[in-house]
Symmetry: C2
């Protein structure tokens, strides 16, 4: 609340600018806290479509007290909804196996072959960024507010709760997909 009032005063009552200001503060806080270990946290679950999709998420935070706070609980719940709706395959791009990246790059290069090298390079890079944005949870557009990525939602939460937040892992079960795999 105090931060909101201060931000509104600093931007002479311009709400949009005040929000930007708060988000910048959140980012600054998030960067400061990003090296702090998350010893506590929570596991949350979400069942979608009458039991046809199920999701588990694990999110770390610094204290048990904050892990039981409403903003944190809202985040873990939103995260589980996100995984159910947007089917990410990895938490972040660091987790994407090198072989997958190489295969994607090969496909993109094949699609645009014949173009000059510098153009080709640019297109491949662009397509790869799009691939990460779709398949990595932290880079996905938040389904409840597509102007923010999940990483931005996380950063905003760090600004609110003042503790580091770490999205550790998720599992997504869609009925029948395991039978199809086998």
């Amino acid at each position: 609340m105090m931060d909101c009032k201060k931000a509104l005063a600093a931007t002479a009552g311009d709400l949009e600018k005040a929000i930007d200001e708060l988000r910048k503060q959140g980012l600054a806080t998030a960067q400061k806290k990003s090296s702090r270990t998350t010893k506590d946290g929570a596991v949350d679950a979400y069942i979608h479509a009458g039991g046809k999709i199920g999701v588990l998420v694990e999110v770390g935070v610094e204290t048990d007290f904050v892990s039981r706070s409403d903003p944190f609980k809202e985040f873990t719940h939103d995260l589980a909804l996100q995984v159910a709706a947007a089917s990410p395959q990895w938490v972040s791009r660091d987790e994407v196996p090198a072989g997958v990246v190489a295969r994607e790059k090969g496909i993109y290069a094949e699609q645009v072959k014949g173009k000059p090298d510098n153009v080709l390079e640019k297109i491949v890079t662009g397509k790869l960024e799009k691939f990460f944005a779709e398949s990595c949870l932290m880079e996905q557009a938040f389904v409840k507010d597509p102007d923010r990525t999940i990483e931005q939602v996380r950063t905003d939460l760090v600004g609110v709760i003042g503790e580091n937040v770490e999205v550790r892992r998720f599992a997504r079960f869609q009925l029948g997909e395991s039978a199809a795999e086998a």
Copy 2:
């Protein structure tokens, strides 16, 4: 209900024997149905200990109608509770990697070395059975009724609902264990 009455009549009112009779019928039904494909089913979740443990389970059954029935829902819920409480590592012994079995056997053989071969063989087999009974979900004693294994609970359910039931997979997240692994 009709099955219960018939079983009680057949055993001259002996309740224990009637239950045995019903379980045998359930087993016979289960064996008959075990080859039938489970096209439908449900994913269920359970959060334990205030968000410190989370479980997902996927269970197949033949029809959507039965997947929404109370006995089936009770089973998926009990299964999720079981995974939370008893931490199985695999669904069945078929899934245990050969390397794990070999390592376990090696440890047991080391523990009883010096004994005659036939005694050693018996002890190792016994210990391995115990390992499967503890680490494989279907062989675990049901926490809510330790006289039955999960496989027996499944078989009993098949007898009740008259459709094949397949425990497909589970996931169990315990807060902090992923950080410890990394």
